[in-house]
Every structure is written in C-alpha cells, then in structure tokens.
Amino acid sequence: MPAALFQTALYASLVLCALGLVWRISAWFRVRIGPDAQAPTPYQRAAAACRGSVSVLCSRRALHLLGVFFLDVLLLRRLFASGKLRWFGHLLAVLGFALLLLMHALAPLLGAKLFQDYQATLDPYLFLRDLFGVMILLGVALMLLGRSRARTGFAAPRDPAGASFIALLAIVLVTGFLLEADKIASARAFYRMAEQYAGTADPARLKPLRALWASEFGVAFEDLKGPQTPDLLAQGRELHDKACAACHSKPASAFVAYPLARALAPAMAGLEQGQADVWLLYLHVFACFVGLASLPFTRFFHVLASPLSLLLSGAGSAGEFFPAGRVSRRALALDACVRCGICDARCSVAPLARYLGNPLLLPSHKLLATTALAGGRLLRSGREAETVRAADGAFLCTDCGRCTSHCPVGLDLEDLWEAGRADLAAAGLPRPAQWVQARPAFEWAELLEQIPGKAFAAAPLAACAPLAADSGSFSRCVQCQTCTNVCPVVAHGNGAGHGVDLTPQKVMNLLRLGLRDLTLGSRMVWDCAGCYQCQQSCPEGIRVADIMYELRALSVQRLGAVRSHGAQA
C-alpha cells in the first residue's frame, strides 16, 4: 500500500473522528432535557462542568473517584453485579481490543517500544495476536449470549449505526486472520524474503529451505507436493537457522491463522494470481479507518461517555455541579447508555409493556424516545402514534428506580424520566389527568359524538369497563347522596377552590340516564382518590369507586382517540 495513500486515509479518519468527538461532546452542553435545562446556556453549562471537575478533583472525593475508576470503569463492577456472563464477555473483548490496538495496530508507535524485540512474525507475538483477536470474538459472542438471556419480549431498539460498527469490527478481524493466513501460505512472499535474506530466489538453490517451509511453515508451493526426505529437511533447517530464524517462529502458534493457511493451501495459486493479499490489506486497513472515523457517531462512543457517567455517579451530588451539571448529566446519559437492556429486564412495568404491546414503557426504549424528543424528532407530524405511545410509557412508569440501581454505567434514569415527563407536558402531552381537564366535560362529550363508533370496535366496552357498561351495576342507585356525603374530594375540594363539577351521585345518575360520555371528562372522575368510601357506604351496594376507575381508563382510551383524531383533522 502506498505510504501516501495510507497516511492520507489515516489523517482523514483521525480528523473525522476528532470532529465527531467535538460534536458529540458539545451535545452534553447543548442538548436540553427537562424544565431546568431551558435557562443555562451551553457556555454556562460547559463552564460549570469545568469548575465542578476541578473542584471535585482537588477535593478528598478524588481518592474515592480513583477507586470508582478502577472498580467501576476498568473492572466493570456494576456489570458484574448484573450478569457474570456479559461481564466476562465485555472484559475479554475490551482487553483483547486494547492489547491488539497497542501491540499490533500501533506497532510502529507503541508496540515496538512496549514489547521487547517486537516482531510480528516471532513468538510470543505471533501467538498473542491471534489470542487477542479470539478474545474479542469470544467476548462479543458471550455478550450477545448474555443479552439473549435477558429477554423482555421485545426486540432491542433498532440501531443501524451500532450494527454497522460491529460489522466493521468483524471485517477487521476476519480480514486480519485471512491476511495472516495468506501471508503464511504465500510462496511469492517466501521468494521475496529469500531473495532479501538468503540472497537468492532460485527454486533449485532454495530446495532444502522450500522443503522445510512447506512442511513446517505452511507455505503452499504449487510444484512441491508430498512428504520431504529427512536429509533435505535437515539441510533446510541449517539454512533456516542462518537466514530466517531471527525473524520467524513456527506459524503453528498463530492458532487461528495457521490452520486457516493450511485450509487455503489448495486455493493459494488463485489467491496469489488475484492479489488477495493486497485486497485483504486494503479491506483490513480501510475498515479500521472507517471504524475510527465513525466511532463517535455510534453507540460505541460510550467508550468515552460511560466511564464519565460512572465517575459522575461516583462523585455523588458533587458531580452534578448544580444546576447546570445535572442538566448536562442528562444529555451525557443519552450517549453513555450502551443499550445493554439490563434495565428492560428489571423494569417493574415490563409485564404491562408486554401486555399492552408498547416497548416504550421499557427504559432503554424510553431513553431513545427521550433522545428523539430532545432532538425534536418525536413531535414531528406523522409520528403522532409513536408520540402517544411514548407518553403512555412515560406516565405508566412507577419510579421504582430499578433501572437506575441496575444500570451498569451508573445513569440516574429516574431523574431523566422525570425531566422527560416535564418536557412531554411542556410539548402538550401531560398526564391524562391534566390533558383531560383542559376541557370541560360537556365539550369532550360533544367531540366524542363526532368520532365514528367503529374507532372503538377493537376495545369493546364490556371488556374494558364491564361495570360501567352494565346498567345492572348502577341502576339501583336511588340518588340518596350517601356517596357524595362521604366523599373526601367533594368535602375538601369545595371549600378550597378545587371543587368538582359533578358529585359521585351525579356521575351515577348520568350513567343511569345513558349519558356516560358526559362523565368521562369530568373533574369528579379524574379527581377521585379511589379511597372507596362511597362504595363502602352505598346502601344499594353499588361499586361506585370501581366504576370510577373504569371511567378513567375509558376516558384515557376514548378521549385519547378524540385527541389524536383532532390532531389528524
């Protein structure tokens, strides 16, 4: 490969990587999530982060952070707690990658300095290179296996950039092994080296050496078949010791490439003809460069963001540099998430997500929706359905905190969810209790009449609200007002300016009159505390509170349909 081409490509990918890093890191100070994120400017946020970092690093907390760095960042303690298989896989892959990078990819820069008498064709390096490559492959395989065990019933969120990066990594590893195998088996390479180091490329004079390299070094000579005589091999070994041994260990220690070279032997003539070594080298090197340039734009940017997140989490409240720091930490979370899905497997509402068929209840999916909302992509027209599902996910979260406590990169997800809910509300998607009360009950009832009845055919009334659907459950109401008299919401709300529009007894009466739609948007239905005083006290045994719960669920469903109908109109 021409040096100029190599260097141009290297510098181009380094520049792209650097620009990408600047862009992604600046997002930590640009992206606004949560109501408290609206005021501070990116400059203020960056300044707060710098000041805060310096003050934390100069405090006694720094020692603690050193521990966090070793245990959480290097040894992945939090991942260990979540699953040994993935932990081992991740450790293996990272270790293999880092060592391969140092010893092999950066050989001219570092490898030669770090490793004594480094030669790519000598042991132990010949062996280690294959070992590191296998560590990466095995590590990735273990992580995938661990991932498939933590099933949530939903496919992982689509991530084309991340998948492409993994494909690039696979290309680098496979071409690397193939290239090594090709070089081992290549007769052309043998003659080139022989000329350089033994002073001849004459096949006749090299006969003993050829015999030895064919039988012990895996070179595929087209004109040399079958076993060699011990005499010839002994002569070859003499020559080898003089001219080759200083730079060449037996390639059998390259435990992946050598068997591969043996397997490739019959095809070597064709591969040499087609200059496979050149093609493989180009593929190998350019896949590395493309990977380097694209790294900041994939989820593998977490190599930078996740350690930072862990350190911030370890710094405790000191790491938040209030208030600008907390805001920046949320933006960082979007990058630090590795989409491992451990949170999803632990999520308290995962059974609800499965039953409702809405993955946006699950943390890792919700985080992507939060990213989309922060980037202004969620609220675009044409994505209304997804937006509503995202809001359902946001508001059905019970804040149990299990996602946060199991997050291997230490994200404060509860804080992120709270901020995301506030942003949804600001964008016109508050909790149902809020959006329902934005209109009076009679307006909702009028709007409901305009919705075609078949819009609700998929959710028959008797299935989702059997008590409200069955007149037998409320027709006994004699309007005695006992329910109203015991209702704490009626009692305390009226005196304090939070009065309800209907009373429980009026809600029952509207049901009796067949005016159910009039109740759905009422304050009484939505301000009902569900305390069951009414139901307990009803002399007719009417299940008033149970009906109220049903009416609220019905309200979410039907008035929700009115809302999205309005959005489409």
Partner: protein, 277 residues
C-alpha cells in the same frame, strides 16, 4: 412461617426504611421472607387499562404460587390491588381467559392458591398482638399514637377482608401491643390524599394537612403508618410545616424499637427521644 415479600415499587426507591424495618422486625419474630422477581402490582395501570392492571397483578400472584408461597405486602395499595385483581378474575370469566393466556406465554398459571396478607394482618392474626406484647422489651408507655390505616387495607371490606371497614380496631390493638396509647381521631379512616398527588396536587396536600391537623387536635404525638403512600404523603406535608408537634413513623419502626432492636436496623437515624413525664 414463610412469605414471599411483595415490596412493590414505592418502598425500595422512596422508603427503603420500610423494607429495612420490616425485615428486621420479622426476622426477630421468626418469620422467613423470600424474595421473588415480582414486578409492579398493577395499581398505576388501573387508570389506564383494566386488563393490563389485572395481568400485572395476576403475574405476581402466579409467581408466588409457583414458589408455593403466600404474598406479604407491607404496602396497603399493593395489598388492595392484588386482592382486587383476584376479585375481578373471580367474577369475570372472559377476563380470566385473557389473563390466563397472557400468563401462559411465560409459563405461569394462576389457580387462586397464593393468598395475599398485609403486614398488619400477619402481625395481628398470624402472630397475634399478645405474642408481640410479650416480646416487647422497651414499651412506649404513654406515647399517644394515631393509627393511619390506609384506604386499601380497609375498603372495599369484602375484598380487603382486613377488619370491620367502618370501625376497625386491628391497628390500634397492634399499637397498644407496643405499650403506646392508641388515639381515637375522627379522620382516621380518611384518605391521606396521595392518590391525587399527580392529578390535583393542591387538593392532595389539603387532604393530608386536614388529617394531620385532626390527629394533632386529637392529642396524638405520632402518626403511625403501614403504607408507603400514606407515610410519604404525610412526610411531604410535614416538611416545612410550622407545626412539628407530630411525627410520622412506620409501624415496623415503632414495633422494632419496642422489641429492643437498634434504631439503625430499623432505618431510623436515632431512637425516640425520652418523653417528658
């Protein structure tokens, strides 16, 4: 005595002291607690979809059933929700069919085997107030305590099966067992206001304040709770309130102190200050 501890969502994240003190007290009393992979009881989904709420609840019941255990809920709302779900499953065959199908996808079945107990019913009925009283080492003699039942352990009575929903005595008896004096207060059966916090925060706050004022007026020095929702709502209402004459304490903490357990093991910063005679 062995139960699957159903902590729900609120206790681990917002009131870990309730978990700590429950475990400490029950260990002391010889009750074994088992941790299963429970999820949300279904309560927050009740306003959203009846089916989804019952499925979530039934999954938890089925998990306990598979382990051959009864559930123990320290949260009144989890207790009420799980029992409500059992009622709905019992009376609605079509719902039961849908839920059975959803559970089958995970290899789970619900056959009504697992019972649901609340912490207070376990202490009062399975163990007995007299057993507790006999185990008390440092009684809270003279401490006037108002019992906050929590709506969903009481009502609807036929579902909760807890005590007489109109005139319960179970909690007062348990308070008496610690040596404290239960206080009769007119609003003891009212809602704490917590369920309204999202929908109508001002009204929710008013409801909590009215209850606290009523307890103070009735001479209580302490509001004793057995539900994270009530407890956290009172705590929030008390924060910044000029009247600090009453404190909120979990029943497990009150009992634990009386049993002579160290305050730290109950999630308390310090034991109760000695009372002026």
């Amino acid at each position: 005595m062995k139960y699957a501890l159903f902590l729900g969502c609120k206790i681990p994240s917002k009131l870990p002291a309730y978990e700590t003190s429950t475990r400490a007290v029950l260990r002391h009393l010889g009750v074994t607690l088992v941790d299963l992979e429970f999820d949300c009881c279904g309560f927050p989904a009740r306003n959203f979809s009846r089916d989804a709420f019952v499925v979530a609840a039934a999954r938890n019941l089925a998990l306990a059933e598979r382990a051959g255990l009864d559930l123990l809920a320290p949260c009144a709302c989890c207790y009420g929700t799980l029992r409500q779900a059992m009622r709905f499953l019992g009376e609605d065959a079509a719902l039961r069919a849908r839920v059975t199908q959803a559970l089958a996808a995970e290899g789970l079945v619900w056959t009504r085997k697992a019972r649901v107990e609340h912490l207070l019913t376990l202490l009062a009925r399975e163990l007995g107030a007299d057993v507790l009283a006999a185990a008390v080492r440092s009684p809270h003699t003279g401490l006037r305590v108002a019992a906050q039942y929590g709506c969903h352990v009481l009502r609807p009575g036929e579902v909760a099966q807890f005590d007489n929903p109109a005139a319960p005595t179970l909690f007062e008896t348990l308070i008496g067992a610690t040596g404290a004096t239960p206080v009769d207060w007119p609003r003891r059966l009212d809602c704490c206001g917590d369920p309204l916090h999202e929908a109508n925060a001002p009204l929710s706050g008013i409801m909590a304040q009215i209850k606290i004022a009523d307890a103070v007026e009735s001479g209580a020095e302490m509001l004793c709770t057995a539900c994270p929702h009530c407890h956290l709502r009172f705590d929030a209402a008390q924060t910044g309130s000029p009247d600090q004459s009453i404190r909120t304490m979990l029943y497990t903490q009150l009992l634990g102190l009386a049993l002579g357990l160290p305050a730290q093991s109950l999630g308390l910063a310090a034991p109760l200050a000695p009372r002026n005679p």
